[in-house]
Symmetry: C2
């Protein structure tokens, strides 16, 4: 093999990742479009299939492409899976703490709910109200309640009509799943639990009523209360 003796700092895999990314940009590929086969790329870039495969795996890990056995690799849609793992890793290794995440969430969710109140479709309003209602029904079933809670915030993000907000909310979902029970346990009284669930319903109503100020104020309140609950639970 006519090995090209060009040793970059990145290594062949890094170079190949770059080449594939460039290929996507230059050919202006859209989600779903197919990439060249491993064998072809390997030939064109003068690297072994091993290298191409590792480059593919790297891009797949970032959800830039999608792999499936037998099929060719395709350009992927945005997905929060990778970011979720990265955030979880940051928390597990003490590089990020839960309050810091709550500060970010409060900041963006306040904006999200403002946009949602302005831009939501009627269908979305209905769906958001329904999720808040389901939370009330599940007030004594923590597992179900958490899922509806997450779905509620996800629906709001979608209604904001800004995919970046959906992406970020999704990215925090992984770690939220792991810490949500802590927050719930720190609300031991029925009153505290009803308040939490009730606030969600109020937010849903404000969004349905297209009242951005009210929606934002309530969301801010919700986070005040959540952070207080978390601190009470001793999560420093």
């Amino acid at each position: 093999m006519t090995r090209v003796e060009q040793v970059n700092s990145t290594g062949l895999v890094g170079d190949t990742i770059g080449a594939i990314s460039r290929h996507i940009r230059e050919k202006d590929l859209m989600p779903g479009d197919r990439l060249p086969s491993e064998a072809l790329l390997s030939k064109e870039l003068n690297v072994s299939r091993t290298v191409v495969r590792e480059a593919f795996r790297s891009l797949a890990a970032m959800r830039i492409i999608e792999l499936a056995t037998g099929k060719r690799a395709t350009v992927a849609q945005i997905d929060h899976g990778a970011m979720s793992l990265m955030i979880e890793h940051g928390v597990h290794t003490d590089q990020i703490n839960i309050q810091q995440i709550y500060d970010v969430r409060r900041t963006i969710e306040t904006r999200i709910v403002t946009l949602a109140a302005i831009r939501r479709t009627d269908d979305e309003a209905t769906q958001i109200l329904a999720l808040a209602a389901r939370m009330q029904d599940a007030v004594n079933d923590p597992a179900a309640l958490m899922e509806h809670d997450l779905a509620f915030h996800t629906a709001l993000a979608r209604a904001s009509r800004n995919p970046v907000y959906s992406l970020l909310i999704g990215s925090f979902q992984g770690i939220t799943r792991q810490t949500w029970p802590i927050g719930w346990k720190s609300r031991p009284t029925q009153a505290a639990r009803d308040l939490m669930v009730g606030t969600h319903l109020d937010i849903a109503r404000a969004v349905a009523a297209s009242d951005p100020q009210q929606a934002a104020a309530l969301m801010s309140l919700h986070f005040d209360e959540s952070v207080r609950a978390l601190l009470t639970a001793g999560l420093s």
Copy 2:
């Protein structure tokens, strides 16, 4: 080889990624700590080194671990590189547009500057002022100006004392580098350019003066003006 005939939907590589992640969590590894060698993992997990390597590459792509030739893989520090690529991919494939990113940036940077005004150390205040000053010096050197601009916002994020904000600001930097010149071209007059640079200095002063309200108001203003400039440039 005693091949375990357990076919998950994820495939062996996916399983292996999970096993390594679990290993990090269970052993409570911190950034810098070393992971087992490929050969060892391959033996313990009953998969080929190929599979372990692809799993390593995937984790490295998400910056969860770090690879280097000859050395063992280590647990990595949080890094925005992967997120930056993901965002860029989203923009290039028309899944995200620039205004959407600006809306998110405005939202979080307004919060960042509020926190920075409260929490900045004196050193950070000095550094932020210095960066704003350097922007003024480079008002006729777009390339240098852009770099100082990016460094300015990065410094503010650091002063907010919340690594998640630093992570997010970093994630937008890649795409910002590609769109910044558009915004600059849409400020063709000296007055518009001086205004943009001057706003940065005003923000720096507000942060140095520990005036969060003023800092936030100015940052909001800055983004108003930036979005207007971008729209003028015809970036729909």
